[in-house]
Symmetry: C2
């Protein structure tokens, strides 16, 4: 290829054509159905964070003006009703059991429905399952699927930045509940939900949302306990309000605790963490480090013994023919992430250790000079290297006599198994005592003898 062509090519690389080949673009016509982010510039994130105005920080002077009164009411009245109930009503065991059960139903509405199905498209659900999840999710009173997924997609897309509505860098309180109690300081970063805008069930839920909250959040639990065992009031305060409190804080923990407590076995660039405790309180959403790396995976926990009931629920739905196309990230890539994190850790350890000098850093010494010098200090040749063993003669587990015997001599065969097949630790220690290279001594210098075991494998960059 000519230099001119080269230059043209390079030019082309820098200014790509502006319209995509039409064959691969399948965009809808209608405004709602056009992805919100289809026309954003290549430097959208940096540009927006820099140029978009944000509301002022919350302070003692402005907090009462900045409150989001609807959320504040929902999040204070619900626990108030529960506490009042606890003080005045008897908690019947049937009501208690039903509350726990209904906690899981409405919790799964959020985790298996809102989160893994709609926000992340990690599997396909049949219509009946979708209606069930949409209603169960409404019973958790956390906003409509559309609103919730919009925020959650921005959370994933802009994790730990101010375009993330529940930015964990703003602290545990903010990411848990603070972000809802005040007006959002910024518009969440753009995130596409055109797929949800096209979905009948999502539209239906959004349209009837207030009615669905009342029915699924309060009416159903009240009626079940009332008709079932005559505990109307208990149904309302315990299975309704009390259960709702738990569902709220349980799912909020995914934004707070899951970005704070635990390990980062897949990547530590961002705040998400894996922890059993978080999993226990969030119906399995606690393996959040995995989840942020592989958000379209229907699982959060990849090991069978880890606690992820949401995954189990989706899997059972698949067995029943209600769910399909469960997405799984290639195992090869998952294990690569784990490997990288472990190598990172070992590399730090490696950098904290001292290793033996290699032959390039040592003086080359003749046999005669070695003889001469070993009359003055205890030198031993092993594998072509000259070692000063002054500080080791009395420490030698094989006894000092075996060391002194070889001063001024070649102990290669004896050291390498002839007399004693030394451990790797002994080889490593020996290498630390190198003071020179014997001229011509590389006859012994087979790689396996010259390179101490601790230096045969190492964590290398690139």
């Amino acid at each position: 290829m000519s230099d001119a062509a080269d230059a043209r090519l390079a030019q082309a690389t820098l200014t790509p054509p502006l319209t995509p080949p039409s064959k691969w673009s399948k965009l809808g016509k209608d405004k709602e159905e056009t992805p919100a982010d289809i026309n954003i510039p290549d430097n959208y994130v940096a540009w927006t964070l820099k140029n978009q105005k944000a509301l002022p920080p919350i302070s003692w002077d402005n907090w009462w003006k900045e409150l989001n009164y609807i959320s504040v009411m929902v999040l204070t009245i619900t626990p108030a009703i529960s506490i009042w109930g606890l003080c005045t009503q008897k908690l019947r065991w049937e009501t208690f059991l039903f509350s726990v059960f209904y906690y899981y139903v409405t919790g799964l509405g959020i985790t298996a429905g809102y989160h893994r199905l709609w926000a992340h498209r990690s599997y396909n659900a049949s219509k009946p399952l979708q209606y069930f999840l949409a209603m169960a999710g409404a019973g958790a009173v956390e906003g409509s699927i559309k609103w919730w997924s919009r925020g959650h997609r921005a959370h994933h897309r802009y994790t730990d930045t101010d375009l993330d509505p529940y930015n964990a860098h703003r602290g545990l309180w903010w990411s848990h509940i603070g972000w809802m109690l005040v007006k959002p300081r910024r518009k969440p970063g753009v995130a596409d939900i055109s797929d949800l805008s096209k979905n009948d069930v999502v539209r239906w839920q959004h349209r009837w949302y207030i009615q669905l909250i009342l029915i699924c959040g309060f009416l159903i639990p009240t009626v079940v306990c009332g008709l079932g065992w005559g505990d109307w009031m208990g149904g309302y305060v315990f299975a309704g309000a009390g259960r709702l409190c738990f569902v709220h804080h349980s799912t909020f923990c995914v934004n707070s605790l899951a970005h704070w407590l635990g390990e980062a076995p897949f990547d530590d660039k961002h705040t998400p963490r894996d922890h059993l405790v978080t999993a226990l309180v969030t119906i399995g959403e606690g393996y959040h480090n995995f989840h942020h790396q592989f958000p379209m995976d229907y699982r959060n926990a990849i090991k069978w013994y880890q606690y992820d009931p949401t995954k189990w629920f989706i899997w059972v739905c698949q067995q029943l023919g209600l769910a399909s196309h469960l997405k799984v990230f290639p195992d090869n890539e998952v294990r690569k992430g784990q490997l990288t994190m472990q190598l990172k850790r070992l590399r730090e350890q490696q950098e904290g250790l001292r290793f033996a000098p290699d032959s390039n850093d040592l003086p080359v010494i003749s046999w005669e000079s070695y003889q001469e010098q070993s009359l003055k200090r205890p030198l031993i040749v092993i594998a072509g290297f000259i070692h000063d063993v002054s500080d080791f003669i009395d420490q030698h587990p094989g006894g000092p006599h075996l060391i002194t015997k070889y001063i001024g001599r070649d102990a290669t065969t004896a050291f390498f198994g002839g007399v004693y097949d030394h451990s790797n630790a002994a080889h490593n220690l020996l290498s630390m005592k190198r003071v020179g290279v014997l001229h011509g001594g590389t006859q012994h210098g087979l790689d396996d003898k010259a390179i101490p075991p601790a230096q045969r494998l190492r964590v290398a960059r690139y």
Copy 2:
């Protein structure tokens, strides 16, 4: 240096002088005091295993002729007395408590005395402590210090070979007790105990060994329980025989269980293993993988929360001024061993994974040809590489539209944070979809973009 000198040097390396420089040799005159291994040839191990005669294997025809009747009697009569005692005597709680206490005293005689002090010289003990340990060790009835250390040093020196008296490759039964019940099949490999032959306490114990067994193994426990709370018979059968059974099998476990159960965090060349259970039953000798790597270390367990009462005992003796010069292997070398083992494990994992092709293995494609081909299949340029994303468009968590938009274009900026700051997992996955290198596209090819995160660190050989 001349070629002739070179040749002479090489010659010298191959035939070392036969006598060590006298200045560094401090050998005694007397036969006992001359190290047994001072004059063995450099190929001693291989030569001996090949040429030394061994007794025939044990079989149905010869076992009764091959029994070592003394050991068989000691190891059967002791449990017989204990069982008889359990059936006929009442176990008083004072006797029980004293038996447990005396188990630890005589056990420490073996672990802190025989093993770590005399066999391994891992610290210095004052005379009073030496007499205490020599008597306590005699109470464990496992042979004299001299005999025991001779065997144990051979065990370390020839671990897992037939020169090791309790070679673990011969199975759990053999290494636990089998080796004592029959005549040794071979003479244990040579091991020097000239240091012990010079030691007064060791000589004294060897000289009065039978008397000491009777006194420390049986008389003392009987008399203590008898004079203390009138339980003469209980003292004899429980604190004497019963306790001895436990001490026996507890210390035998160091040769059997400790070479069989657990992990090898320091080196896996030989059978020794680390396990908490072994530590619990052997008064702390269960970190045996560590111990075989660092036998002259007074510790077996290096972490404070690991169970090693023998170490604690030695440390307390040091505080009391009874012990000194506690040897510790350099921490740098200990951690090297651990690092190597972990790297080995990760290297195996690494070899089980598929990684992305690098630019040398891919065709170089011009911008024009890329344009043309991307009309036929979905190709995207990122960081100078051309990727085929056919199987990924519908799997993309960011939505298919963001991928289709960039077909035939350059998505480097968008992919690297402009639109979305992709996770390491996304980068790794992307790299697996490489099908070509863009001609001139290396302008983007900064290392950090061209090398997927999973390939920036790797376990390398040499």
